[in-house]
Symmetry: C2
Subunit: 458 residues, 2 copies
């Protein structure tokens, strides 16, 4: 049943008791997450509760060359969790303590298993929030590991900009602290940014120190529909170019709006749509809204409706957050395949129109949506994972979209990560720089036990 050496199994069982498991259902859940990629099961799951426990497990695995894969909330989309060479899935979801919040310094330290919703609930009484919002209620450790971003990144940046410091268990089991609490530093190599986005292939993040922001005095949201997709995108580009600091600027194509209406019982106008959020003082929020409304009107935008009440805003953003599930629910027993690319904003219109053309021949329900202020968008496909013919067609569409994005100077993934799903594009995107990534991987993890088979092509 397992490829684990008995000595590993015995040691873990003795040390972790019922926090060590080889139950099939648990291994299945830990080998897939929300990814459309086929599951590959770890040999066992261990629920770690401290950094020291993670270190003990990693040390043991290193001694026996057993792979280790960190597991947070299981919301990854590109096969990051699949145990392609078996090994131990270290579940960090019980490491869920908020260790420290400093309202004065606008920062906090949390254990890696704290989710962003948990954190924001905790922060509310301090008048603070953590802006990075990838939609799913991911853990902060997982978000750091995939360099996540989401709807608020256009204003507040991504995990790259909002992680100050990390506690990391290295492949040897050694525990280090990267970076520090100062807002900036020129002291040595930027190890923090090396682990942010490394998808657990260089070490396991167990604590995250984050930048926080004050809850804005005023928050307003607005929806605007456009006669054509390119006029919606032109509006988004103009907003960025004028430097209007929108907090969110999301594109939803008409197909998605229809799906969202059905899924959430809404009656949004079925048109290509931009959804905005504005943060600031009352006067400044009003100024931003007026500027954006004028730009939208110039591009034929209609029904620029804005909402300041929390209820209306929540309804709107709930619809956006449920987009993935809304698309998937269009088809019984479907699974979601969400791909993402990101291009320089000037190329966004061309890339999205190209993608929409591709979707004309798509055999499954699909919709385009995205964080267009960053040049980042997604296509969500509702697939039948047991239909290889259909999967091949979707894969071909995805490939064409990714290659178009790369041609336009973009990236194969704006925020979902490489995992196993985008591994074939890494060299196309980064050329010989991939050799350097491999040098770094080999130096830090010479036994290749840290989430093997991810990011780097063989």
């Amino acid at each position: 049943m397992t490829a684990l050496p008995n000595s590993v199994t015995d040691t873990l069982l003795e040390r972790f008791g019922d926090r060590f498991s080889q139950a099939l259902a648990l291994r299945q859940q830990h080998g897939q997450g929300e990814s459309y990629h086929a599951a590959a099961l770890p040999d066992a799951v261990v629920f770690a509760e401290t950094t020291e426990e993670v270190s003990v497990i990693v040390r043991l695995c290193a001694a026996h060359q057993v792979p280790v894969i960190a597991f947070g909330a299981g919301t990854s989309l590109e096969g990051h969790l699949s145990a392609v060479r078996g090994g131990i899935s270290i579940d960090l979801s019980r490491m869920e303590k908020v260790l420290r919040v400093s309202a004065e310094d606008l920062d906090c330290t949390v254990e890696a298993g704290v989710t962003r919703e948990q954190l924001n609930t905790w922060l509310r009484d301090h008048g603070l929030f953590f802006p990075i919002d990838p939609g799913a209620n991911a853990t902060l450790g997982g978000m750091a590991s995939t360099r996540a971003s989401g709807t608020n990144a256009v204003r507040y940046g991504t995990m790259r900009e909002n992680v100050l410091s990390l506690k990391v268990v290295l492949p040897s089991g050694q525990i280090i602290q990267t970076g520090g609490r100062a807002r900036k530093s020129s002291a040595g190599y930027d190890l923090t940014r090396l682990f942010v986005g490394a998808e657990g292939t260089l070490g396991i993040i167990t604590e995250v120190t984050l930048r926080l922001h004050g809850i804005p005095e005023t928050t307003a949201a607005a929806l605007c529909s456009f006669p054509t997709i390119d006029r919606a995108i032109d509006t988004a580009i103009a907003v960025i170019q004028l430097g209007i600091p929108v907090a969110r600027m999301e594109f939803m194509d008409r197909g998605l709006i229809a799906a969202v209406n059905r899924y959430a019982g809404l009656s949004l106008k079925v048109e290509d749509t931009l959804a905005f959020e504005f943060h600031g003082s009352p006067a400044y929020t009003r100024e931003q809204i007026d500027q954006v409304a004028a730009l939208a009107a110039d591009n034929g935008g209609q029904d620029f409706d804005w909402a300041t009440s929390p209820e209306e805003r929540n309804r709107l953003w709930k619809a956006r957050h449920n987009a993935f599930y809304a698309v998937v629910s269009q088809r019984p027993n479907a699974r979601g395949w969400s791909s993402d690319v990101c291009v320089p904003v000037s190329a966004l219109g061309e890339c999205i129109l190209f993608t929409r053309e591709l979707l004309v021949d798509c055999p499954v329900p699909a919709a385009i949506l995205g964080h267009v202020g960053d040049g980042n968008y997604h296509v969500v496909f509702a697939i039948d994972p047991d239909n290889p013919d259909e999967l091949a067609k979707v894969a071909a569409i995805n490939k064409k979209m990714v290659e178009k994005a790369l041609q336009l100077g973009g990236t194969s993934t704006g925020e979902h990560g490489i995992g196993t799903g985008k591994i074939d594009y890494l060299r196309q995107e980064h050329g010989d720089a991939v050799d350097l990534m491999q040098v770094i991987k080999q130096a830090i993890d010479p036994l290749d036990i840290m989430n093997p088979g991810k990011i780097l092509p063989a």
Copy 2:
């Protein structure tokens, strides 16, 4: 006269002609820059004009294990340029082409030898600017290499946040492109951030792709003097905590104001002072000014004078930019020693007051100034580099200040870099994480030819 193998000298001479030099004066200039650290002379200087030329030189040096040190404008402050093991100084100042500006995408690509003033002159007609402003007219390659920041970082971030992509010559001579032009990406290890701040110890940056910003509709500046240093700092902390997006917020202690008055013929009030700059629409700038003025008044701030005319603003910021020279000019034939630390903003008052106490016993003219919105400040000492007793006393003060900053959760350098000057603090600051930095250095530069003796303790 030289430790270079004849074959290296001959090959370089043949290939580069009079762009290869072993003249003493040139070697002296290239072995020190503006640093107070004693010069250590390279064996030769080569003026490179293309990335390929840099690659040729590095390949040759690798074959003969000759050190290579990149040289830009020579404005580094912590001994980065000192050729502690001899070798070749590659002068990149002739690589000064702006290769591409995209007003649509708010980005540009420049050769490493372009200075920030050159770039901003070029950008003005596009309505754009590059905000990172360390004071000195450094090159963009040098600024990336030391992870520079400066006065605007409180609003716009540092080089860490504003470099999108780099062209780098690796220690093997191989040329790679890191990152890409998309605003964000989750595709692979963040090599860009690895080279930003690596001080030329992992490779030589030859091209830099940068984020740009639109020139703000309105720019206003203000000065405000305070009865005590801690009330000035309290005001700065309150501004940050309220999230007021000041573009600059600089502290100058009363000693510095006196020096600046003498140096620049100004008549600023000799008090502990904050200088602000505000960017935005007219209404929003006004709103920020009113908020900051109210906070300053709460802390006993007086004479909150604001200036919107470019002449007045330029005069003010010129005074700030000349602070280093103003302090040094207080003493004939002195050299400047500018140290910097950065702490969480809540600890800033304590750290600055501690530093002021230390300066009571300082044997040379000294002043405190800094980018207090980031928790970063400098002490500038006017030293006689030939007086070892005096140098020892200044070094002792510097040591106490750095150790205090580290105790308070800060960093030994906010923006000047480690070079040779802060090398003894790296392990104190980063602990075992330094081992990992050494693993990375060893893997990427196994012959240790890239700016050896910098950043990493032996």
